[in-house]
Subunit: 336 residues, 2 copies
DNA sequence: CTGTTAGCGCATTCAT
DNA sequence: ATGAATGCGCTAACAG
């Protein structure tokens, strides 16, 4: 089923069919109607792959995420997909599973597919990995270079404000020892460390000013099914256990809650997570969070990418990153 | 950057380069090495799009899901993506957002992309929508026809056993009125209704045998942010409120829990959800669930698709569906 | 063992 | 307003 069949069925040349489909050039109104009718009848859809041979636009963008287990990436994909579809683009999803090699492989695949652009959800590889996008002239967001730093810094700045609000609140409530939980970086991993570093930096500064201890609790890996994190349990049993727990990552939060389940929230410990979800809100008590509108961010980021692909000027403000501290009942005064 | 450049750079013809890349036909070992070196040096990746013009295989499969908000679909996508990547395939993701029109549009896009096959995560459209895949000779799983019914029935049978176990347990614990919560079908929606019907059917049979009342509680839509489901609250205030709540769908569970938050679990009400997650397990008390291994299911389903695409005989047992009832502390004896 | 050539499905230029 | 012809990057059939 090709354009040729439609042409034969309509009794015109393929050039005319092509013009009718794309309404480019001149086509008599009645001929056009007949062509469209034939298309309908034959159930013909022009091959996007053949099209992209001629034009050099594939109408396909890639989305790279590190882990397809974190609900945050569902939000991300939802945002990318909806923005892409609205503009007639289709989304190729690749997950790196936290491994720079897999990520590189995924990028290679995108190059092979000649995607028009790539949205980087998380990026675990080094800048050399990004280089292959540049080499092949593939647009991507967030971009590298000064703009990227601007974006990153916009994101970090937005979040830093929320982090400060959260930290101040904990201090105000009398907490004197705060635990900050992270999952150990995979070897070679980059970006998450970047964000965590920024968060930790802000918290650290705030805590040292206030004379509050900040413990970095690093999980080597996610606890197995049904098991509790030894690292966390151990810290809770130390002489001077933290009275507040901050989780760097939404997908870590349930594990932290599980490990803390011997303690009452918020009477014994207060809990805050980076990243919000309906589950955090439905938990009893509801868990305070540093929220991001990942869906909107992804949409905006994708629009930006499509703009740059299509040579349109990027939206006036680009991507506006917002972040906010949502105080919920999981936060209370420090015990005694 | 094309095969031509590589040929020129190596000082051979494009045919030789092609043969070297695909190691098809004869190529002198040293020539092959030089070609590969040139490729490396120039950073050349053959265009999959041009390849698929000749081969009529795109090495791309589509994945259709209804809603990109349910974590279950993350598992699904993870399974599809991992199985696909292992075989060198790439995944195009389309979400229908519960709308048959969007779904149809997504299928059209897949046709335009000439994907080699489609994995149907959920399928909200009618069979006429599926027809376009058949028309274009696009393989898909679950397949339609007898095989599909076999698959569906295998799935339903597996789950039915778990449902019965759960139902019997509730009855055994003295529950005399059980609520089954569903989200109202979108107009035109099909598959979810199908599964829910099966679940409801099993529960219904079991309850009537045991002389237990089964209330179908239908939510018109998901409660807005921060709001509670009026429908649920209302039922809890009726003269004879249910003592056990069964949620048809994992993504509905947090809303149900939120709406039930005036009651103690499991002292006042018992709660079970279809679909498990770390959050259900981390909740206090941990929420009982009917579990599925969505990741493995998706992987198996995708392998099956790839087998059929490549003319390989499908794996011996095809897809094995497993489902189990996970009793947790959210279930207790009926009050008084 | 290697090079030349045709053609996959389509958009586009150039005639007519 | 329409048709014939060209080429996008690649593989496969054929010729040498």
């Amino acid at each position: 089923m090709t354009i040729k069949d439609v042409a034969a069925h309509t009794g015109v040349s393929i050039a005319t069919v092509s013009r009718a489909i794309n309404d480019s050039g001149y086509v008599a109104a009645d001929v056009k109607a007949r062509v469209l009718a034939s298309m309908q009848e034959l159930g013909f859809r022009p091959s996007q792959r053949a099209r992209s041979m001629r034009n050099s636009r594939t109408m396909t963008i890639g989305a790279i995420v590190s882990e397809l287990v974190n609900p945050v990436y569902l939000e991300f994909l939802r945002g990318v997909e909806s923005a892409a579809n609205e503009s007639g683009y289709v989304v190729l999803v690749v997950s790196s599973q936290g491994s720079p090699e897999k990520e590189h492989e995924g990028l290679q695949r995108m190059v092979a597919e000649r995607v028009d652009g790539v949205v980087l959800g998380t990026f675990v590889g080094g800048s050399n990995s990004l280089a292959i996008l540049a080499e092949h002239n593939i647009a991507h967001v967030p971009p590298t270079g000064p703009v990227s730093e601007a974006l990153n810094s916009a994101w970090v700045v937005a979040e830093a404000a929320a982090t400060r609000e959260m930290g101040r609140r904990l201090v105000e409530l009398g907490h004197r020892r705060i635990a900050y939980v992270v999952l150990q970086d995979m070897p070679g991993r980059r970006t998450p460390g970047f964000y965590h570093k920024a968060r930790y930096g802000v918290l650290h500064e705030l805590c040292s000013e206030a004379g509050v201890a900040l413990d970095l609790v690093t999980l080597v890996r996610l606890p197995a099914d049904g098991a509790r994190s030894d690292e966390i349990v151990e810290v809770t049993r130390s002489d001077e256990p933290p009275s507040a727990w901050v989780t760097c990552n939404h997908s870590l939060l349930p594990y932290v809650l599980d490990a803390l389940s011997g303690l009452r929230i918020p009477e014994d410990v207060s809990v805050v997570g980076y990243g919000d979800s309906i589950w955090a809100a439905a938990y009893r008590p509801p868990i305070a969070a540093i929220g991001h509108d990942t869906y909107s961010e992804a949409r905006a980021l994708t629009s930006m990418l499509l703009d740059s692909i299509n040579g349109r000027p990027p939206a006036p403000d680009g991507v506006e990153y917002k972040s906010w501290f949502i105080e919920r009942e999981s936060i209370g005064p420090a015990p005694r």
